[in-house]
C-alpha cells in the first residue's frame, strides 16, 4: 500500500518536469521562430505536389516560394492544367503567364513492324539491361529497345507502349520533367516545344542501304531534307539529319516530302499518329 504522499510526490515531480519542458519549448518557439509567408502553405497545397522538378526548382514548395517572390509566373509549372493554373494565378493575383509547352519526343520510329531484329534477348525486362547484353538484339544499335524503361520512369502515366513496342507520349499528360530522357539508355528522348513540327525520328549513323537494311524508316543520310528546308535549318551530322531548333520558325512541311524512308516527319500534337493501343489505354491529344 502506497502512502498518499508518494502518489502526490510523483504527480508533482512529473507535472513539474512537464511544465518546465513545456516552458522551454514555448521559449524556444518564440526565440527561434522563422517567419514564413502565411500564403506559402496555401499555395503549396494548390500546386500539384508531384515534386517532378520540371520547373527547374527543387520541388513544389520551392516553386511556391519563387512564385510568391514573383521570380516565376504560375505557368512555369508545366504540370498544372488550365483550371489549376487559373486558381493559382487568382490566388497570387497575377497573370498566369506564358510558358512554352514542351513534350518528350522519341528519336526513333523503328517499331517491331519496321525494324529488323538480329537476335533474341532473354533476361531482365529492362532496356538498360538489354542494352548491356550484346546491344539488345535489335539490328539497329541506336534504336528503341521497346522494353519500357521510360514508361516505368514516367510519374504522370504519359507514356504507353504501342503494339509495335514503341513508347507513345501523350502530350496532354507529359510535363517535360526529363525523367524519360534520363531513363533511356540510348538517349532517344528529347524535350521539344509542342509546336515544333519538324522531327528526325532516327539516330542511326549508318548511311544509305546499310541504314535501310536494319530499319525501313531509318535516316539514310540522303540529304534531301537538307536541300528542301530553309538554308541552315537542317544539317547532316555523321550520317543523320539534325534539325536546328533555334531556327524552327523557318520550318516548312516541304522538308519532309522527299524523304525516301519517312525518317523525318511533320508532326502536329502527337508524334505517332496511328496508334494501336489496348482499349482503355487511349491517348488524348
Amino acid at each position: 500500500m502506497l502512502a498518499p504522499s508518494a502518489v502526490l510526490a510523483s504527480v508533482a515531480i512529473l507535472g513539474g518536469v512537464g511544465v518546465t519542458f513545456g516552458a522551454l519549448i514555448a521559449l524556444a518557439n518564440a526565440r527561434f521562430r522563422v517567419d514564413e509567408d502565411p500564403r506559402l502553405d496555401e499555395l503549396a497545397d494548390l500546386l500539384p505536389g508531384a515534386n517532378c522538378g520540371a520547373c527547374g526548382f527543387a520541388g513544389c514548395r520551392a516553386f511556391a516560394e519563387a512564385a510568391l517572390g514573383g521570380a516565376v509566373a504560375p505557368a512555369g509549372c508545366t504540370v498544372m492544367g488550365e483550371v489549376e493554373l487559373d486558381d493559382v494565378a487568382a490566388f497570387l493575383g497575377v497573370d498566369a503567364g506564358e510558358a512554352d509547352k514542351r513534350v518528350a519526343r522519341l528519336l526513333c520510329a523503328g517499331g517491331s513492324d519496321v525494324a529488323r531484329r538480329k537476335a533474341d534477348y532473354v533476361g531482365i525486362e529492362s532496356c538498360a539491361a538489354a542494352a548491356a547484353v550484346g546491344g539488345g538484339g535489335k539490328a539497329c544499335s541506336w534504336g528503341c529497345l521497346g522494353l519500357a524503361d521510360c514508361a516505368v520512369a514516367c510519374d504522370f502515366d504519359a507514356i504507353r507502349m504501342s503494339a509495335t513496342d514503341l513508347p507513345v507520349v501523350d502530350p496532354a499528360r507529359c510535363t517535360a520533367c526529363n525523367d524519360c530522357v534520363v531513363a533511356c539508355p540510348l538517349d532517344l528522348f528529347v524535350l521539344l516545344p509542342l509546336d515544333a513540327p519538324l522531327l528526325v525520328q532516327c539516330r542511326n549513323l549508318l548511311d544509305g542501304d546499310a541504314a535501310e537494311a536494319v530499319c525501313s524508316v531509318a535516316c539514310t543520310a540522303c540529304k534531301r531534307c537538307v536541300q528542301d528546308a530553309a538554308p541552315g535549318l537542317i544539317h547532316m551530322d555523321r550520317g543523320v539529319a539534325v534539325v536546328d531548333y533555334q531556327q524552327i520558325e523557318l520550318a516548312n512541311p516541304k522538308a519532309v516530302e522527299r524523304c525516301p524512308t519517312g525518317a523525318i516527319v511533320w508532326i502536329e500534337g502527337r508524334q505517332f499518329p496511328v496508334l494501336d493501343l489496348p482499349a482503355g489505354n487511349e491517348v488524348t491529344v
Binding site: 538480329k118 537476335a119 531482365i124 538498360a128 548491356a132 547484353v133 546491344g135 546499310a210
Partner: protein
C-alpha cells in the same frame, strides 16, 4: 592448427563455385592455324583505354603487320593489319560489345602467301626497360585473358612501389576454354622467355605461375622447362571458379588479400596472363606484333570444337564456319566463357585481341529459366569470392536502391556470376549488379559534369 589451415588454404581462395569444366572437348586438340578469311574487320576500339587513331584511308594497300591505327595516349595501343590486302572502307561495324564501332575493313589478298614484310627483330637484352616497354606498346600487346588492358602499362610499376612477385595467370577457370592450356603445353619456352623479359622490366627476381590442377600436363611441361637461372615456381591450384580473377589468384598464391578499391601492386604483385606473356616473347622472337591469337571454339553447339590460331579481325561467322558451323540446336553464341562471356547478337562481329574463346550453347543449356522469389537460402553468400551479400544486394537492386547497394560494397563486385550460378531461384543477380554498377557509374559521371558546369558554389535554381 594454423599450419593445418594454412596448408588447406594454400593453392586456393575461400568461396567460389565448381561449374563442370567441359574442357575435355578441346584440351587435347593442338593449336591449328585458321586460313585467312576474305575480309578482316579491325575495330579501332579493342582494348581498355583510349581507342586507336586511324592511320589508313580507303583504297590503301596494307601488308600483314602494318599499323592501321596508332595508340592515342599512354593507356592505348596501336592496331595492326592481320592480313595483307586493300582497305575497302572505315565503317560502322558490329562490335562484340553489342554497339557499332568504327572499324577498318580490309579485303584480304586472295591466294596470298601472307608473308609479312622483312623486319628487324629487336634483341631484347640490348634494350633498357623503357625501350622494352616501348617495343611492347608498339606491338599492340594487351592482356589476352579478356579485359584487354594494355600490357606496357603493367610493365611499369608506379613510383615508389616495388614488385615482389610476378604472378603468371594460367588458371583458365572459365569452363570450355583451353587456349591458355594449349599455350602452356605447346610453347612453355615462350612463356618462360616472356617471364624473363617481364621480370627484367619490373625489377623483380621471383615469378610464380598459377595453374589449376585440371591441367597436370601443362604443370609438368612448365616445370620441366624452367630455365636454370630464373626463380620461377609453378603452383598447382585447386580447381575452382573464379580462380583466374586477379584478386583470387593473388589470394590463392600469396595468401594476401587485395584491399577494396586497390590494385595488385598494393600487395607487391603484378598479374599477367600466360597468353600475353607469350605474346611479349613473340615480339622478341619473331618481331611480329599482336595480329593473331589463340581462340578456343567450343561448346555443344559447335560441330568441330577446336583451338585455333585466328587473325585478329576475323568475323565470328568465318571462325564458326571453319569449325564445321553450328549444330541445328545452337542457340547462344558467347565471346569468352559461359560464366562471364558476352552474348553475341551479330555473327559479323570480329574476333578481338581480347577474345579468348567462342562458346556456343544449345537450346538445352541456354533455355530461359523461370525466376522465383529469393528464399534467403544463403547459397550466394557462400559462393561470392569477394564476400558480398548478393541476396541483400539483389533485393536492393529490385527496389532500385542503388545508394544502399554502394554502401554494401556493390563496386567490389567483379561480376563473376558465381551467385547467379548457385541461385536455386534462378535470380539473374549478376546481370542486376552489372546494371546497377553501370547506373552508379553514369550517376557519378553526371554529378562530376554537373559540378564542373556549375563551378564552386553554383546552384541550379540560383
Amino acid at each position: 592448427m594454423i599450419t593445418l589451415l594454412d596448408g588447406w588454404l594454400k593453392g586456393g581462395f575461400r568461396h567460389g563455385v565448381h561449374p563442370p569444366d567441359h574442357k575435355e572437348a578441346t584440351a587435347s586438340h593442338p593449336i591449328r592455324r585458321m586460313p585467312f578469311p576474305d575480309e578482316i574487320v579491325l575495330p579501332l576500339r579493342q582494348h581498355a583505354g583510349a581507342p586507336a587513331r586511324l592511320l589508313v584511308q580507303p583504297g590503301q594497300r596494307v601488308e600483314r603487320g602494318d599499323k592501321v591505327g596508332e595508340a592515342q595516349g599512354y593507356v592505348s595501343v596501336p592496331i595492326h593489319a592481320s592480313a595483307s590486302g586493300t582497305v575497302t572502307g572505315v565503317d560502322w561495324w558490329p562490335h562484340p560489345d553489342g554497339s557499332q564501332a568504327e572499324a577498318v575493313r580490309i579485303a584480304v589478298d586472295p591466294h596470298s602467301a601472307q608473308i609479312p614484310r622483312p623486319r628487324l627483330v629487336p634483341r631484347w637484352d640490348d634494350l633498357n626497360p623503357d625501350q622494352v616497354r616501348d617495343a611492347v606498346k608498339d606491338a599492340g600487346v594487351v592482356g589476352l585473358g579478356g579485359a584487354a588492358f594494355p600490357t606496357h602499362v603493367k610493365l611499369k610499376p608506379p613510383e615508389g612501389m616495388a614488385v615482389e612477385t610476378l604472378l603468371v595467370n594460367g588458371a583458365e577457370c572459365e569452363p570450355y576454354l583451353t587456349s591458355d592450356h594449349r599455350v602452356m603445353l605447346e610453347h612453355p619456352e615462350r612463356v618462360h622467355f616472356g617471364i624473363r623479359i617481364m621480370m627484367q622490366c619490373l625489377g623483380t627476381s621471383r615469378a610464380v605461375i598459377g595453374v589449376e590442377r585440371n591441367k597436370p600436363d601443362a604443370v609438368a611441361r612448365l616445370r620441366a622447362t624452367i630455365p636454370d637461372d630464373l626463380d620461377i615456381e609453378v603452383i598447382a591450384l585447386r580447381v575452382k571458379y573464379p580462380q583466374g580473377a586477379e584478386k583470387m589468384l593473388i589470394k590463392a598464391v600469396t595468401g594476401r588479400e587485395v584491399p577494396s578499391g586497390k590494385l595488385p601492386i598494393h600487395v607487391g604483385t603484378v598479374v599477367q596472363n600466360v597468353g600475353s606473356i607469350a605474346a611479349i616473347a613473340e615480339i622478341f622472337e619473331t618481331g611480329y606484333p599482336l595480329i593473331e591469337r589463340i581462340v578456343t571454339v567450343s561448346g555443344p553447339g559447335v560441330v568441330r570444337p577446336s583451338n585455333l590460331l585466328v587473325p585478329v579481325g576475323t568475323k565470328l561467322r568465318d571462325v564458326l564456319a571453319f569449325c564445321g558451323g553450328l549444330t541445328p540446336d545452337a542457340r547462344e553464341v558467347l565471346m569468352g566463357g559461359p560464366m562471364m562471356g558476352a552474348p553475341q547478337g551479330d555473327l559479323d562481329a570480329p574476333v578481338l585481341k581480347g577474345t579468348s574463346g567462342i562458346v556456343v550453347l544449345t537450346a538445352a543449356e541456354a533455355k530461359p529459366t523461370r525466376v522465383h522469389p529469393c528464399i534467403s537460402c544463403g547459397h550466394c553468400l557462400d559462393a561470392c569470392p569477394v564476400f558480398l551479400n548478393p541476396s541483400l544486394l539483389g533485393k536492393e537492386a529490385q527496389a532500385g536502391r542503388y545508394g544502399d547497394m554502394v554502401e554494401h560494397h556493390l563496386m567490389d563486385c567483379m561480376l563473376c556470376g558465381s551467385c547467379s550460378y548457385v541461385c536455386p531461384s534462378n535470380i539473374p543477380l549478376s546481370q542486376m549488379f552489372a546494371l546497377a554498377k553501370g547506373a552508379v557509374r553514369r550517376e557519378q559521371q553526371r554529378a562530376k559534369e554537373a559540378a564542373a558546369a556549375d563551378g564552386p558554389g553554383g546552384g541550379k535554381a540560383a
